[in-house]
């Protein structure tokens, strides 16, 4: 799924995506109960949910913009911040946490200057926390795009991040 929306954002400007959004909305027009499904599809299309997309979904499904906003901010899956070209995901499951996952995050935050959930201004990186990727034996673990980094050490991070242009 990640790969799918990445290539879409990379290849097409946001403006070009709106006709496709209109098609999605048309399938659910006037159906407030489909809100989460439509937001899901819209985020797959745009990579995130900008205000204009929220407005179109609200008017199309006949729900208030407030309700859309409430849903987007409630579920961690939805984001109003565009994703970077490279998605950094640090595991903070119990094992990774106890083995120093938080230190990994602090170092990355310092290196690229963003908060968890944020994207760098040049849209090179975005940073998120995940809860257990099933690699507890390799703790602390980290993912960049689809590459797994085991026993991540803060000292090595600058070099690792540099590989992703």
């Amino acid at each position: 799924m990640d790969g799918e929306h990445q290539c879409l954002c990379a290849q097409r400007s946001e403006e070009e995506l709106y006709p496709e959004l209109d098609k999605i909305i048309d399938e659910h027009r006037g159906k407030p109960e489909d809100l989460i499904m439509v937001l899901h599809k819209a985020q797959n299309l745009f990579g995130y949910l900008p205000r204009k997309v929220q407005e179109k979904v609200a008017l199309g499904l006949n729900v208030s913009l407030n309700e859309v906003y409430g849903v987007i901010t409630f579920y961690a899956f939805f984001t109003t911040v565009p994703k970077g070209r490279h998605s950094i995901r640090v595991c903070l499951g119990t094992a990774c946490y106890v083995r120093g996952g938080q230190g990994v995050i602090e170092k990355i935050k310092k290196d690229i200057g963003i908060k968890v959930g944020g994207t760098t201004e040049d849209r090179r990186y975005s940073l998120d926390v995940v809860r257990c990727i099933g690699a507890c034996g390799l703790a602390p673990a980290m993912l960049i795009n689809d590459d797994v980094y085991a026993r991540a050490k803060p000292a090595k991070l600058t070099e690792i991040l540099g590989k992703y242009e």
């Binding site: 008017l59 208030s64 913009l65 407030n66 309700e67 906003y69 409430g70 901010t73 409630f74």
Partner: protein, 583 residues
């Protein structure tokens, strides 16, 4: 009948009765915070917990139906300690500047903390200071005071169906806000202010004009006139500890004189004038069969709601301005002329049970006098605060009449403040306008009372007039959906419709005293009907001052001059941010 025991007292109850309601019938009050009798209980706060024998955790009394055979304790040591600790948790993240809070002395959280004997702040505040939302012309929202009980969201979405407020984020970051945090002034909020009535703490309140009015009153170069809406006389007494439903019209006029207003008039005068203007319009449109049904235009919350959600019905809404705005225009034209006062020296103040009136007064088109027609709007609560600041006790005031020429009123005007009142007043005069004879039985009972939607059929010389009344915007929405569907099919069954934005009408307005519920609104409405009954003139067209203004100034209802000064037009608004959009 089911049987159970509460605090060892046996009780018989109907299935489905909550523990809270069942206890109440025994005279046992369980403390609550988020619960409100007008709203569906959500159990958000956890204050009303009780102990049910045999259940492992405590149980919420507001959301849990009592069950056969249960043994409930509402004041066991475990319950009392836990209840107190829940309140200690809630106040840990609440701004504690109670002495300078607008709700000081009227706050439900303050009262609860006092009742439970909370004496120390145990825990530190865990959220950062948030900015206060002042984007609206009518309502201020202070998220630092908000305890997230959700009453405002409930009333805005379930009762008013406006959906201007929402819960957003989650966990420690949970807030009540507007979409993208853009502020109430950039939302579809219609300024009805019901959120300010239901908020238990000081998180939602009117944008105050008290300081501006003090300044005007202290300025010797200004001639400051005041009008009071019909509903004020049925609720202002509550602010001074008078019995609910006490009529204080005369005391209110006297108190305003003691605040040094240069002339104390009455919105009831322009309510009568509204009936003549709107009634003439209705009769004309019925005779011509044009743009029916006609819908009333007195309620500014309803007007913005209509512009936002039903703009296609604009041509059905009467062009007559609301009584407040008619008064504003006339205070700076007719009155200025009669008295020989330069209109730019006049400051026109209104006392309203309403927050939407603040927005209405600031509309760009409300300048037909050549100036802003109404300068400042004060809610009932703001007037009470001014009177208290000046040491004026309403209870001790003599009864005084309002001043001429904008003060005399009929019984038809005073019932404007209750749902159905405008309809009843209009029918009393419409009958005369059509037939030339007076309607004999003036009490049109089917349009009175708190039923959400009311209908009646009135025979006017063989013409059967079908009328409908809706109060509360959720009820208005249902009626407008019905009308829209009928109009789409070519024919609507109704001739004339009254809509009031607030449940109960103006006696239930967003500017009413804090701590009100529907039962109180109903009681205030009765007070207005009692005043109507006691007045010598009960028909708007019988008001001598109304006859005089047409003779001296306006000519006749719907004359060119009336149209210029007393009528308005409407816009289409965005459902996203409430701003005017092109058609």
């Amino acid at each position: 009948m089911e049987k159970a025991r509460i605090n060892n007292i046996e009780i018989e109850f109907d299935e489905g009765t909550t523990i809270l309601d069942a206890a109440k019938t025994l005279g046992i009050n369980i403390p609550t915070l988020c619960h409100h009798p007008d709203l569906i209980p959500t159990g958000a706060c956890g204050v009303c917990v009780v102990e049910v024998e045999g259940l492992p955790t405590l149980t919420r009394a507001c959301t849990t139906p009592l069950e056969n055979g249960w043994n409930v304790q509402t004041n066991s040591a475990r319950v009392r300690n836990t209840r107190k600790e829940v309140v200690e948790l809630i106040i840990s993240d609440h701004d504690m500047d109670c002495l300078t809070c607008i709700k000081n002395g009227k706050c439900e959280l303050q009262e609860l903390a006092a009742n439970l004997g909370i004496r120390e702040l145990k825990y530190p505040k865990f959220t950062d200071k948030k900015p206060i939302d002042t984007t609206s012309f009518a309502i201020v929202r202070d998220p630092n005071k908000c305890i997230l009980c959700g009453r405002c969201v409930q009333v805005c979405s379930e009762i008013q169906t406006v959906n201007a407020l929402t819960f957003a984020e989650r966990s420690s970051e949970t807030v009540i806000t507007t979409a993208s945090g853009a502020g109430m002034g950039n939302s579809p909020c219609v300024n009805c202010g019901q959120c300010t009535v239901y908020c238990p703490v000081g998180a939602l309140y009117e944008k105050s004009s008290v300081e501006e009015v003090w300044e005007a009153l202290n300025n010797p170069d200004k001639h400051v006139v005041v009008q009071e809406a019909p509903a004020i006389r049925a609720m202002l007494g509550e602010e001074f500890g008078m019995e609910l439903g006490t009529l204080v019209a005369g005391k209110m006029h006297a108190a305003l004189r003691r605040l040094n207003f240069d002339a104390v008039f009455d919105t009831n005068f322009t309510a009568d004038l509204t009936i003549l203007e709107e009634g003439t319009e209705v009769v004309g449109r019925i005779k011509a069969g044009k743009d029916l049904p006609v819908i009333t235009s007195c309620s500014p919350g309803w007007i913005k709601f209509m512009e936002t959600f039903y703009p296609h019905l604009r041509k059905h809404v009467s062009t007559a301005k609301s009584p407040q705005q008619m008064f504003g225009t006339l205070s700076k034209t007719y009155y200025a002329e009669q008295k020989g006062i330069a209109p730019e020296k006049i400051i026109s103040v209104s006392i309203m049970p309403c927050t939407a009136k603040k927005f209405e007064a600031l509309r760009d088109e409300m300048k037909d006098s050549g100036f802003q027609d109404v300068d400042f709007v004060l809610t009932t609560r703001e007037l009470a605060r001014m009177l208290k600041e000046a040491g004026i006790d309403l209870k001790t005031m003599p009864d005084e009449p309002a001043d001429d020429p904008l003060g005399e009123y009929s019984g038809a005007a005073t019932i404007f403040g209750a749902t159905g009142g405008v309809m009843e007043a209009a029918l009393r005069s419409a009958y005369f306008l059509v037939t030339g004879r007076e309607l004999e039985n003036l009490d049109i009972l089917p349009v009175r009372g708190l039923k959400g939607r009311k209908e009646a059929e009135v025979d006017v010389d063989g013409i059967k007039l079908k009328v409908a009344v809706a109060h509360g915007l959720g009820n208005a929405r249902k009626l407008m959906d019905k009308i829209s569907a009928q109009l789409a099919n070519g024919k609507c069954e109704y001739h004339f419709i009254e809509v009031m934005a607030c449940p109960g009408g103006c006696v239930g307005g967003g500017g009413q005293p804090w701590g009100s519920d529907m039962a109180m609104r109903a009681r205030r409405g009765q007070t207005l009907y009692q005043e109507d009954k006691s007045l010598p003139v009960r028909r708007s067209h019988g008001n001598p001052s109304i006859k005089a203004i047409y003779e001296k100034y306006l000519g006749q209802p719907n004359s060119e001059k009336s149209h210029h000064l007393l009528h308005t037009h409407y816009f289409k608004r965005s459902q996203i941010d409430g701003k005017v959009v092109e058609d």
